[in-house]
Symmetry: C2
Subunit: 381 residues, 2 copies
C-alpha cells in the first residue's frame, strides 16, 4: 500500500473515526484505525464493540486533488499514535507499507516508522437484509437525538431503556426515550413506505451527533433486525441495535388535565435552575411549584442546612383549576426545558401525584412527561 | 449589614475571591467568603490555609454608582452557594443580614435566605513589619511567573523546591525555580533600594496569575520575613512564604560550552514535540539530538513497541565543536521552549552528561538548564 494524502483532509477523517476507538480494549485490533486504499479513494474505519464509523476520502474534494494512490492495500495503525502524530506533522503525508506491515509515514523532513497490524481480522461492516429505509436531514436528526437522548436510563438493569426507540409508521418517525421517571417523545414527518421499530443505543446516537453536521445534508437511515446504518455522503456509521421489547408508552400520556399552564420557557428554566441550588441535598431534592393567585405562581426550594429560595413568576395563561401545587425534581425539569426552543411552554398538571406533561406551545411534535417527587407533604394529598 | 450592589461588579469580585476557597476544608469558615460593608466600600475576602485574596468594590466605578451601603457590617457566606446563586440572578442585588446571621439576598422577584456564619473568627490579614518593597507591571510579573513557575518541584520532600525564589538586589529581581533536574531563571530590572530573598509557594503564584491582568497595571509587592503581599488597585493577595534555605545556584550555570547551537525556537519546539510521541514508555523516555553535518541536526526517538521517528532540522549557526550528541527528556525541553517568545534560541552543550543551557538569542534575562538523560548509550561516552 502506498499513497499521498492532503494533511487537513486526512487529519479531519482520522479525528472522526478515531473518536469512537477506545485505547483500553482487550482486542488490540480495536485500538487501531483501519486504512484501506483503493484506486480512487482512501477509506478510514474505526470501531468499538457496538459501532463502526467509516469515512471516505475520494481522489478529488472541493475542486482539488487531495489523494494519490500509488498502490492499493490496507493496514491497521494505532488510533492514538496516528492521530497524535498527524496533528503535529507539517504538510502533505506520504504513507507506504512494506510486506512486514511496517508503515513509513513521511511529511516534509519528518520520517516516522510504525509497527502496523494485520488488517485481515478487523471487524467487517454488517451486511443487512430485509431493510427499512428513511431519509432525514442532518439537522432534523440532530434535534431528534437532542430532544430524546438525554431521557434514557443510565441504569443497565433494563437494557431496552438505555436506548431510544425509533418507530416508523404512516410516514412518521416517533422517537421515544424513558428511564421510567421521565419520558421524552419526538415526532417527525418523513417520507417512507416502510414500517418498523428498533431500539438504538444512546451511545450510538451521541457518536452520531458528533459526526453529522448542523446543516441539512440528507442522512440515509437503513434498519435491519439487528443493525442500523446512518449514511451521509462520505461518512457512514453502523451500529448494533438493542434487542428486547420496549415498554408500551401509548397509555402514559394523559388525555386531559386538571390545570394547563402556559409559561415563558426561558423564565421558567432560569427560575427552576436557581431553585435547584438549594435542592441538592438528598432529603429535599424537590422544587415546589404552586399557584399564588390566578396570574402568578411561586417556585421555591428549601435546604435546612443552607437556606431557601423563592420567586414569583407571571403565568402567561391558565386553563382549568386555578389552584395547583406540585413537587418535581428540578434536574428533570431543566433537562426538558433546555431542549424546548419555543418561547412558550405548556405545563399540564393532574394533581400532585400524576406525571406532569410539558409541551412547547404550538408544537405537537415534542412532549415530555415527568413523575412528581412524593415528598412528605405531597404524599398525604 | 445592608447594601445594594451592581450585579456584574459583584459577580466578578466573587469569582476572584472564591477561586481559592476550597469546598473541602475542615475549617468551615474557610469554605466561605467574608463580606465587609463600610460606608464607602464593600470588601470581599476569600482564603485558604496559605493565601488570602481581598477585593474592594468602591461606591463608584467606571463613572457610575455601583454600591450603596445602608448599614455597615460583616458576614461570611458559603463561597460555593453564593457564587452559584449570584451567577444566576437577574439584576441588582440587595443584601440584608439580621441579628441571627440570617442573610436575605433579593434580586428582582427572587428572594433567597442563607444561613450566614459569624465573621469574627475569620483569619485576619497578616500584619507585616520590616518590609521590602518593589513595584512591577502586571504583565512583567505574569511573564516572570510563566517563565519560572513550571520548573518547581512537585515533590513535597524538599519544601523549598516547591516554591520560586525571588531575590531583590542592586535594582534587579531574580526569580529562580528548580526541581534539581531542571532550572529556570528570570531576571527583571526593577527600581528599589531594598535587598531581600524569599521563597514564594508555586500555588500562590498560580493564583496570582489568575487575578492580575495582562495589562501594565502596577503591582506593589511587599515582602516581610514570613509573608508577601501583591497589591493592585482594588485587589490584594497575601500569602505565607516557604521557610528554609534555597540551594545555592550560582555555580550551576556553565561559564563556557563545547558547542553552542542557535536554532529556530518554533521549529525546535515542534520537532521535540513530535519526537515525544515515541518517547513515552519508561525504558526510552529520551529524545536524541545529534549533529548530521555542520548545517543540519537530527532529532529522533524510538519506542520498540510502537515505532520510531526522526527528522532533520537546519542549524541556524554553530560555534565550537561541530560534533554533538545528547539525550534529553523531551517534556523538559518542551516546557522551556514554550515560554521562550524570541524567534531564536541558543542551546549550549557540554558533552553528553553535563546540563544543557537554553537561552533566548539576544536576551540575557532568561535561562534554562536541563540535565541530560543517561541512557545506556550515553552512559559510556
Amino acid at each position: 500500500m502506498e499513497f499521498t494524502v492532503n494533511l487537513p483532509y486526512f487529519k479531519k477523517a482520522i479525528s472522526i473515526v478515531s473518536n469512537i476507538v477506545s485505547a483500553k480494549t482487550t482486542l488490540s485490533l480495536l485500538t487501531g484505525v483501519k486504512l484501506v486504499a483503493s484506486a480512487d479513494k482512501l477509506t478510514l474505519i474505526g470501531s468499538n464493540a457496538d459501532v463502526i464509523i467509516q469515512k471516505d476520502i475520494p481522489k478529488y474534494m472541493d475542486g482539488k486533488q487531495v489523494l494519490e494512490v500509488y498502490q492499493p492495500g490496507s493496514i491497521i495503525l494505532s488510533a492514538k499514535y496516528l492521530s497524535d502524530l498527524v496533528s503535529k506533522l507539517p504538510g502533505e503525508i506520504h504513507i507506504k507499507v512494506n510486506e512486514h506491515d511496517r508503515v513509513t509515514i513521511q511529511s516534509e523532513e519528518v520520517i516516522t516508522t510504525f509497527n502496523g497490524m494485520n488488517p485481515d481480522d478487523y471487524p467487517t461492516v454488517p451486511s443487512v437484509k430485509e431493510i427499512s429505509r428513511v431519509q432525514l436531514a442532518s439537522n432534523e436528526l440532530a434535534e431528534i437525538i437532542k430532544q430524546t437522548g438525554f431521557a434514557v436510563s443510565k441504569n443497565e438493569s433494563r437494557p431496552v431503556l438505555t436506548g431510544v426507540q425509533f418507530s416508523l409508521k404512516d410516514n412518521e418517525l416517533i422517537a421515544v426515550a424513558t428511564n421510567s421517571h421521565r419520558l421524552a417523545l419526538r415526532k417527525q414527518k418523513v417520507r417512507t413506505g416502510d414500517n418498523c421499530t428498533c431500539i438504538i443505543p444512546s451511545n450510538t446516537l451521541q457518536e452520531l451527533t458528533k459526526i453529522i453536521g448542523t446543516g441539512s445534508t440528507p442522512i440515509n437511515v437503513s434498519i435491519s433486525e439487528k443493525h442500523i446504518a446512518f449514511e451521509a455522503e462520505l461518512t457512514t456509521l453502523y451500529s448494533k441495535l438493542i434487542e428486547g421489547n420496549y415498554p408500551d408508552i401509548s397509555t402514559l400520556v394523559p388525555a386531559e388535565s386538571k390545570t394547563i399552564l402556559t409559561l415563558d420557557t426561558k423564565n421558567l428554566l432560569n427560575g427552576i435552575d436557581r431553585a435547584r441550588l438549594f435542592a441538592s441535598d438528598r432529603k429535599n431534592n424537590n422544587i415546589h411549584i404552586e399557584s399564588e393567585d390566578s396570574s402568578m405562581m411561586k417556585i421555591s426550594s428549601n435546604s435546612t442546612e443552607i437556606g431557601n429560595i423563592e420567586e414569583t413568576q407571571a403565568i402567561y395563561s391558565i386553563e382549568g383549576e386555578k389552584q395547583f401545587k406540585i413537587a418535581l425534581d428540578g434536574n428533570l425539569i431543566v433537562d426538558a426545558l433546555k431542549v424546548i426552543k419555543e418561547e412558550l411552554v405548556m405545563i399540564s398538571i393532574n394533581g400532585s401525584i400524576r406525571p406532569v406533561l410539558m409541551q412547547p406551545k404550538g408544537n405537537n411534535n415534542y412532549l415530555h412527561l415527568i413523575s412528581p417527587v412524593r415528598s412528605y407533604e405531597t404524599a398525604n394529598t
